[in-house]
Amino acid sequence: VSAFSVGQRVRVREHNPPTHIRTPLYIQGRVGTIERLHGAFRNPEDLAYGREGLPKRDLYLVGFEYQTVIEGAPATDRVLVDIYEHWLEPEETA
């Protein structure tokens, strides 16, 4: 069972360890909406160190209004980012 469902509002965790990560800083702390579940993949943040990347992690496509990233951006525009489940939390718990 996946942790999040399409349409759910989620917040991206803020975390910038000195290790390899796959969640860009510009999107950390922002609130977006789950647009799609890509599936479960080996975790590239673990694979980067020659390990197995297991257990597989769910990878989501998360959509954000552009204005949450860039001040004054057109209200129509969105940015969509691939984010692994361990970087997301439900909006209300933040």
Binding site: H20, R22, T23, P24, Y26, I27, H38, G39, F41, P44, A48, L59, L61, G63, Y66, Q67, T68, V69, I70, E71, G72, A73, P74, T76, D77, R78, V79, L80, V81, D82, I83, Y84
Partner: protein
Amino acid sequence: MIVQHVHSGMSPEREAALVLRTRALAAALIAKGVFTQDELKAQIDAMAKQSILDGARLIARAWTEEAFKQRLLTDPVGAAAELGIDTSGVAKMMVVENTDQIHHLVVCTLCSCYPSFLLGNPPDWYKSVSYRARAVSDPRGVMREFGCVAPESRQVRVVDSTASFTKTGPFTGFTRPKSNVPSAAAEEAGSSCPPEASSTPKDNSAPESISATGGIALSQPKWR
């Protein structure tokens, strides 16, 4: 690990040094038994065979055959295999379609993830730090420099493929040619953002080099 793949404008000395370093690294990996010389050559040969023409074939087929387009959108890897494209090692991929309401701009801000099996080596500008930063900070400005002016009513969706999940870079060129577009609205949309402008430029010039000569004023984005 941050790897910068920017080669354009590199001095001959710098390039020679990189070639030497690459050869030394390959020799060390072969000596350690990580891979063999033959495996290295096979990999280079396989990469050399990949071509943007395969991606172009896929798009052209989707333009002319609606059923194939639907398969491409729902099962891109299967659709590519259908055309005889080597999809071994490609687990999953997502294809996005440009319409008169939505225009996509694909970027990998963290490195340069790219569907090489369909499009060959990414152009240098795609991997450049400036494209990766500006595609997010000023997507409409970057698109303008490529000759694609999206009207304000059209939603721009920047797709940041940060996680090894294959995205369809220049499939943002998935706009049907005007002659195939059934509705008048789409016809009009075509004129402000021609399909040819949203496909990958053939040369290797980075968007910023175009702006330098074209004199397009860039506003400074305000990151939140």
